[in-house]
């Protein structure tokens, strides 16, 4: 190894370490601050270790209220986005080449639209129809782009589907509805589960779109953002830490399930 290469390598590892620090230091500091007695969330100076902030967070009724709102929204988003996204994937895969290009562009356009614009346009349309912001509009606005994610995941799975299975079922006398219910849908099941998980995650974490259509509702992200501006205490960090822990556990479980499935021999 030449001298310059050694220096280059050292620099690269330095960069890797800095990158890792950049990724994780903010999260670690945020989590650690939940245990600091200091009224403002920080780690320096450390004023003593406490779990009081968790208790404070636990006792906060508005937090529970917003958590509840977020969960209701998330469930509704799954109910709306998964069937529509699946239908979109099925329709798209059976379109012919030219129509497909156009439909595809239209169908992924919500992903390329800024979240605030989705929220705003939904708000405007429904005000015109006499309906203001609230859970209904949050669900609609979030679903508008979450459907795209569902569609892409289902399409990826459909690409590996052997359509002669459908023909075989049809040839054995099954109706088209039965073919769909017994053959196509079971095949899509893993993708539908994964898409539901992703939809919940996307819904709960959404802020930009939700902000405009929330009306008088306060979903979790809005709750946290408001706290940051009006009176941040480490109780918010306690909540953040719990959410992070839940997400990480969820993500790891999801990943393990995926790898296990991938490892199983498929017929």
């Amino acid at each position: 190894m030449s001298g310059s290469e050694r220096i280059f390598n050292a620099l690269f590892w330095l960069y890797l370490v800095a990158f890792g620090l950049y990724l994780f230091a903010p999260l670690i500091i945020m989590g650690a601050a939940a245990f600091n007695e200091s009224r403002f969330p920080t780690v320096i100076p450390w004023q003593g270790t406490t779990t009081d902030w968790f208790a404070a967070m636990w006792a906060d009724r508005t937090m529970w209220q917003s958590l509840w709102t977020s969960l209701i929204v998330a469930v509704c988003v799954v109910v709306v986005a998964v069937p529509i996204g699946t239908a979109a994937a099925l329709v798209l895969t059976s379109l012919h080449a030219r129509a497909k290009g156009f439909a595809y562009a239209l169908m992924v356009s919500p992903l390329l639209t800024p979240g605030v614009v989705i929220g705003i346009s939904t708000l405007i349309l429904w005000r015109q129809l006499g309906i203001g912001g609230g859970i209904f509009l949050i669900v609609l606005a979030q679903s508008t782009f979450i459907i795209c994610y569902v569609m892409l995941m289902v399409m990826a799975r459909l690409q590996r589907f052997d359509r002669t299975q459908e023909e075989a079922a049809l040839g054995l006398g099954a109706s088209k509805v039965m073919v769909f219910r017994r053959v196509t849908l079971p095949f899509l099941r893993p993708a539908l589960l994964a898409a539901s998980g992703l939809a919940v995650l996307q819904s709960v974490e959404n802020y930009n779109t939700t902000l405009f259509v929330r009306g008088f509702e306060t979903p979790l992200t809005v709750f946290i953002a408001t706290k940051v501006r009006t009176g941040l205490t480490p109780a918010v960090n306690a909540l953040a830490l719990i959410i992070i822990a839940a997400t990480v556990v969820g993500a790891i479980a999801f990943e393990i399930a995926r790898r296990r499935r991938a490892g199983r021999p498929s017929p």
Binding site: T164, E167, L172, A174, S175, P267
Partner: protein, 354 residues
């Protein structure tokens, strides 16, 4: 309802690809009927038109004399076994077998009982609760057959079902399929590109090439009396010598080849003055024979026990293939040498090129 299958001038065009043109034949009820042809000649397409997965762009499909136009695959008395088998990977073996019954609204207990019965038939008792992924290739094959038989189809359509199996298993399954067909009396339409399979199993065979029907005949007739040059070359091995037909009389034709004048039976398109080819089966060529005498340069002799395969080339460059019984091997020439062969006129056929 009888279960004869009649194709009346069917054709299929995919975009600009002409997959099948003007095919007409009739499969009798209870017949084991094969469709033989090289890859891409339109076999699967024909089967899919019979099953109703695609509608022919022209012509009609009749089953039991009834026009099937507009009837979907689930409304026809057919069941298909796919080239890829297409077992349902997420259902157990017995659920796979009983799927057709489920589609017909048969209760679970009865389905289970029927599945068990079929599992016995295919010698897979006790495998009902496995998943298809946990079976061997041959076992999966048999499950696919049982699944199709469960609906008691009048016509069973089989698309190269044995192609994925090794030789030993394939031979075993051939015998089983044949026995099964005899036992059930179901009309079988069986696709293969393996000619020995078609000849060994079938009552009759249709030979196809490039979307066109070449000949429909019994295996014996196909071998002895090919109707077209394609059939003559495709079915069985043959020695082909081109020339000009000089005389056709009394069922025999004389043809002037680069190796001299030869005589064989007059086949389709054989007319005096026409360009033609004489096709001689390897087993018809005898060393030293006096009639229809030919010389060839021997390149290799493969001894196979009961007979020996002699490979070489005729003077005009055409390949020589002769299979000589061991009892006459004494006369067989050594590799590298010139040798004389002869054949009886009734063992060769002359066809017009066309």
């Amino acid at each position: 309802m009888s279960h004869s299958v009649e194709l009346a001038g069917i054709g299929m065009t995919f975009g600009t690809t002409r997959a099948v043109s003007d095919v007409t034949f009739k499969v009798r009820e209870g017949e084991f009927f094969s469709i033989l042809g090289p890859s891409g000649c339109g076999k699967t397409t024909i089967l899919r038109m019979i099953a109703g997965f695609i509608e022919p762009t022209e012509g009609r499909v009749l089953i039991g004399g009834r026009d099937m136009k507009g009837l979907g695959p689930n409304q026809r008395p057919t069941a298909m076994i796919f080239q890829s088998l297409a077992l349902f990977p997420l259902m157990t073996v017995w659920e796979n077998i009983a799927f057709g019954l489920e589609a017909r609204g048969v209760g679970k207990a009865e389905r289970r009982a029927k599945a068990e019965e079929l599992l016995r038939l295919i010698a897979l008792e006790g495998y009902g609760n496995r998943m298809p992924g946990e079976l061997s290739g041959g076992q999966r094959q048999r499950v696919a057959i049982a699944r199709a038989l469960a609906v008691e189809p009048g016509v069973l359509l089989l698309d190269e079902p044995l192609s994925a199996l090794d030789l030993k298993l394939r031979q075993h399954m051939r015998a089983e399929l044949r026995a099964l067909q005899k036992r059930t009396g179901v009309t079988f339409i069986y696709i293969t590109h393996d000619q020995s399979e078609a000849l060994a199993m079938s009552d009759r065979v249709a030979v196809m090439s490039a979307g066109l029907l070449q000949q429909v005949a019994t295996p014996r007739e196909l071998y002895d009396n090919p109707a077209t040059p394609f059939v003559a070359r495709f079915v069985g091995e043959t020695n082909a010598l081109a020339g000009r037909i000089t005389e056709v009389a009394g069922g025999q034709a004389r043809i002037e080849t680069a190796l001299g004048a030869l005589t064989g039976r007059a086949g389709q398109g054989a007319a005096a003055g026409q360009a033609g080819t004489i096709y001689i089966r390897p087993e018809a060529l005898m060393p030293g024979g006096a009639t229809n005498s030919l010389t060839a340069k021997v390149e290799r002799v493969d001894f196979e026990g009961a007979f020996a395969l002699v490979h070489g080339a005729f003077a005009d460059g055409a390949a020589l293939a002769a299979s000589v019984p061991s009892t006459r091997l004494g006369d067989a020439p050594a590799p590298g040498a010139e040798a004389r062969f002869g054949f009886q006129p009734e063992h060769a056929v002359v066809l017009g090129d066309g």
